[in-house]
Amino acid sequence: MGAAERVKNFLKSKTFTLLCILVAIMAFFWYFSANHSFLSVRNITSILYSMVLFILFSIGVSLLVIFGEFDLSPGYVGTAAGATLATILSGTGIPWFLVMLICLLLGIVFGLINAVLVNKFRVQSFIATLAVGSFLAKGFSYIISGGRAIAIDHPVIDWLASYKLWDVVPVTVIISVALILVYGIVLAKTQFGRSIYLCGGNKEAARLAGLDPKKLSYLLFANSGMLGAMAGVLFASRLKSGNLDGTNSYSFPAVTAVIFGGISFGGGSGNMVGCFLGLLIINAFNNGLTIMRVSPNWTGVASGALLILALTLDYLSNRRVRRQIGGKTS
């Protein structure tokens, strides 16, 4: 394809619209923020810093939505992992890397429970993950920590949470950006990624063409659980305690970011770049609201409005596709 053709495609593409929105938000808040501090280096890093946890949640959820399923449990699984980290670290003498491993395994176990409910018992992924998350995982975090937020003070954990490379860029930001890059490349470039897109398009056709949607489903749910646990561990190490509200409320913005990223609900489309831009938009927006000293009551309204905006964009870009397949995906 000639360069002109490639540019024309880019202009029409979803990524371009997201970039426009991002620039619009940046300009809006830059103009209105006191002495234009919105785009200061410190503020940019704090936006990235606040994105770290959302990135981890969004990666897991995006892969599942592209695959044609859904996951509302990562937030709750994160809290459970944080509580487990705190409990085991303070109580037993187990070395820290083993504790980390146990927490990630815990995330994988919750992911597998989701997968069994969806695959074996044909439960719809939305209600299954909601039940596993808001009941089982939440109950687990209370039980394991005995209802108390246990403090964490462990040199390695502290280093992980607070160490800043050239004391500007926090190490967790580097990890999360690296992760979204790796998953983006895996999704776009490798056989594993390609089979996620293919199964997302049509599971039966993919199965008859030689792929294995069932195995992939177990893998993706487990992956989403693991990433949720990883985010929970990071959250707990940042706070130096196994907080029991934890990351429960983090599933909602992650879903918004996934839809913003052009990952449509029919499965089979969308990419990580879109998801990253979606996250950037949401966090820049929230950051801007704080800088503009907007009264706290408005954050709920704003995040709901953002999700509606994301759904509208998804609708507009899908109308073209939907007309071609003769309304098949509707």
Partner: protein
Amino acid sequence: MTDNDKSGSVIKKITGAKEFTLVVIWAVLVLVLWLLNRNFLSPGNIRSIFNSAFVIGILAVGLSCLLIGGKIDLSSGNTGMLAGVLISILLRDGVHWVPAILITLAFGAVTGAVNAFFVNGLKFAPFISTLAVSSIYGGVALVITNSANIPVSSQDHDWFLALGTKSFGVLPVPFLIALVLLAVYGGVLWGTGFGRRVYMTGGNANAARLAGINPVKITSILFVNNSVIASVAGILFAAFMKMGSPIAISGSDLDGITAAILGGVAFTGGSGNMFGVFIGLMMLTSFQNGLLMAGLDSYYQVVAKGLLLIGALILDYYRENARLRALKAGK
């Protein structure tokens, strides 16, 4: 059919019905909880179970109609909460309680219309767009009330408060209203043409289209109906608690869905009825109340409720699976 054949088939009809297994499970549950604490069946506790059940029950009525029609609405919790706040503000500012209720119900209808437009008009995924509406309403309530509760004064609104606090013997008025709604909607779904068309829309959309049914019209009506019923729940809770609060009942819609699923409403649409939902509701609330009374550690209650919902989902799978196997065997 001869006589004994007739009676035989009636008994078989009852025992064969899905609801019979539900009633048996519920009875066993009540028995176990009664054994754990004798006062479980005391009149006082029965009334408190009913008082804990009426919000979830009313929400479950609207949600079940939607589920049977093949859709879902996650904004009914916050819609109810905002309705409670709205009516308290109207009463505080001197509006007579009857027009106040009408205004609040109109607010519910508008919410339903917005949901219907998003889902049917713009083809948003139902649970995501209603989740967005729910988050917006959560914020709006905080803005309007500035996070404070708005009391309903008992001097000049005694009629309105009676709606929430009076009771006939063991039956509190709000629960009575929930029962009436369950019965009315049960009748509508079972007996009227519209009701049967709701089943058709949820069960097999193109068979419905062949019968000249317009699924968009039916589901839009169901969305409006669901939000209006959610407002009824909010109003009654405000009357019951004598105040509107920006955090009340916002989590009760998940309990409503749990009650519907426990009652045999299929998540994929097309089956389930209001009698089943009533049994599901009673199972859920007596389960919660019984566990509290038996003194089960509260952390395990959270897990227990989760296992109850997951158990209902798995039961739903086997019930559906049995139907398909019977179909294949009949080939």
